[in-house]
Amino acid sequence: MNKFRIIVVLILLALTATLLVACASKDDTESKGRTGGEKLYVYNWYDYIDEDILDEFAEEYGDKYDVNLEIIYSKYDTNEVMLTQVDKGGASIDLVCPSEYAIEKLINLNLITNITDDALWAQAGIEKSDLWQNIDPTIGNAIDEVFGQLNVNGTEIDLTEYFIPYMWGTLGILYNTDVVKESDLDTGWGLLWNAGNNPELNGGIYMKDSIRDSYVAGVLRLKELGKLPESVKGLSVQELINSHDDELVAAVKAVLLEQKSVIKGYEVDLDKEYLINGTAYACLAWSGDAVWAIEEAYADYNRVLDYYIPNNEGNVWFDGWALLKSSQNVRASLEFMSFMNRPENAIRNSIEIGYTSAVDGNILSGDAQVIEILEENEYDSEEFFSYEVRYPSNLTNLGVMQDFGSSTDRMVAMWADVKASGNSAWEIALIIVGAVALAGVVICVIYFVKGKGKRRVKK
């Protein structure tokens, strides 16, 4: 008993000591004799920036305005998590980097600022510049086409005035070329359902634990099977992936449930790692993650992965920086936005994370510094800009996501239903009850036999 107490006390002491050490080692940033201190809260996707660039920005900003800028950088894994945090979390955040449909939602919730507003720039005390000047014009066009008539509380709103694109890409399937055969690829989105009945692929597929992305896959699977409900037949991909028609949702749910028996699990960020180290063979992936994984797998394991968009029908998305209304540091936020889209920074982020920068490819390929950075990282610049995964040439049948609006909760509930279905602990509970019962019987028998024996001896 005493020893035990001593151990407990020792544990507590050790914990306290670690806590103290942890607290003491905080705060060792150099101050360079600057007077003011500023903070910038950036909330971004996982694996979505070259973190060195954050330090460089802080440095440059500090020199320019003679302040110490501290960047507080935090991460999320899906737009939904970000929306919840920003909407209800009460966290102080300046900049977020959501996808276009989440930006639409943020505008609807009246949470983000129009960054073309002259008053905003005047308030920040910096000269207004066109943040979109380097951006690929196709992005602006695509956004205008889809969100052109966005109507919020009776006023027409231009989505492009509320964010500045950062990265863009597509949704497709990342797969291991050793395991996935040509016949599997021919099944299109069915690859994620192992429609080709490839025994090796069974239990080696990851699905995205993200309602929007999984929904796209489900809808397109129905489409290629010709099983779309009558009510949505004949709609374009763009309309299909944004439809929340009851019959379609039910059909997608059924098809996603069907998938449960062949997949290994649901993931968001780690799935690509499992493909790289060869414990899984196919997953629903974003193009940038795919580029990164293809490079890593080849470099580390000599494993050949590839990415494709089945039937060239899918989703194209654009992520960008948006400034929250609650921002306490508008000046640093605006500077950050333009800093990130300078060609040399854009290319470095792009190389680090694999995604395609929103900065116009023509501007990038014509920039001497960019070419130099590419060469330093052993890329052939011509190959870099013509790589189909990075710069897809055919965007006609790729839809852009729009906010589900009031149906969001229904969709989220559907996804929770899918995840909750099928895996019951009943069988295992029964096995254990059986085992316990058996053990009980055995003990009783032994008890009985022994008891008898003893009595006999006593006689």
């Binding site: 107490r5 939904e80 990851y206 699990g265 909750a420 279905s421 602990a425 022994k450």
Partner: protein, 267 residues
């Protein structure tokens, strides 16, 4: 005694109670206040005072998830007890107060996320398919120390003379175990069960990591409600359900445990 000294005393009053005040403050801010918030959130939907959240909860798939979690909780607890009792018994018999006891607490010093990730790696390496089985193994592994320690404590607190008396009166080993050891260590069994059952139904990291999110338990569900779908109302109702479960099981434990002497566990 004069009046003056009396008032003086009440003003200083540096008795043992005073040291409790910081904790009471802490308790109010970080325990009571969040509970009140949960309670308030549970009854508010669209800015109105309703029971809508409760209806939404009962109608959703969450009931199924809750049932499943309860089964997982029961299975884990039973397994922990079946494994933990013999271990605690043997530890007490052969390694009393020795380093061996430390060996059983040792895993608890490693962060449980890291332990779970390591478990996952081992399963992957062995080629075991991740699913319900691996989740249960992970749960049992993680919560076993919480079962063993209270059991070890209460068994080592048993007065040896009871056991000797039982043996003198002609009881065989099994009878001694069933009639002496188990009833006398009941308080340990009960606190062990509480320590294991409640955390297992609310855990979400283990099920997420050890099943690739295929197993969806009540904890996962609550987590999603708050993190992803911003349904704070329904999430709060689910938290209340959890709380009710805790209270019910505590009540039951107390009811059965009261007959025995007060628990001697450190927990």
């Amino acid at each position: 005694m004069s009046f003056a000294t009396k008032t003086c005393r009440t003003r200083i009053k540096l008795n043992r109670k005073v040291f409790g005040y910081p904790y009471i403050l802490f308790l109010t801010i970080f325990v009571v206040l969040p509970l009140v918030l949960i309670l308030v959130n549970a009854f508010i939907a669209d800015g109105k005072l309703t029971l809508h959240n409760f209806v939404a909860f009962v109608q959703s798939s969450n009931m199924k998830v809750l049932l499943n979690s309860l089964i997982v909780g029961v299975v884990t607890t039973v397994c922990c007890l079946l494994i933990g009792y013999p271990v605690a018994f043997l530890l007490n018999k052969y390694y009393r107060n020795s380093v061996m006891v430390l060996m059983f607490i040792l895993p608890m010093w490693v962060n449980f996320l890291i332990r779970t990730l390591a478990t996952r790696q081992i399963f992957e390496w062995m080629g075991v398919k991740l699913g319900m089985g691996t989740v249960l193994v992970g749960m049992i592994y993680n919560y076993l120390p919480f079962m063993i320690l209270p059991l070890y404590n209460s068994i080592s607190g048993i007065d040896k003379s009871y056991i000797e008396a039982a043996q003198d009166l002609g009881a065989d080993n099994l009878t001694v175990l069933l009639k002496a050891y188990i009833p006398l260590s009941l308080s340990g069994i009960i606190s062990g069960i509480t320590m294991v059952f409640i955390p297992t139904i609310s855990t979400f990291a283990i099920s997420e990591l050890l099943s690739d999110r295929q197993i969806y338990l009540f904890g996962d569900s609550i987590n999603d409600m708050f993190m992803k779908s911003s349904s704070y109302g329904v999430g709060s109702v689910m938290s209340l359900v959890m709380l009710a479960l805790v209270l019910i099981s505590n009540f039951l434990m107390n009811k059965f445990g009261d007959k025995e002497e007060e628990s001697k566990g450190v927990w």
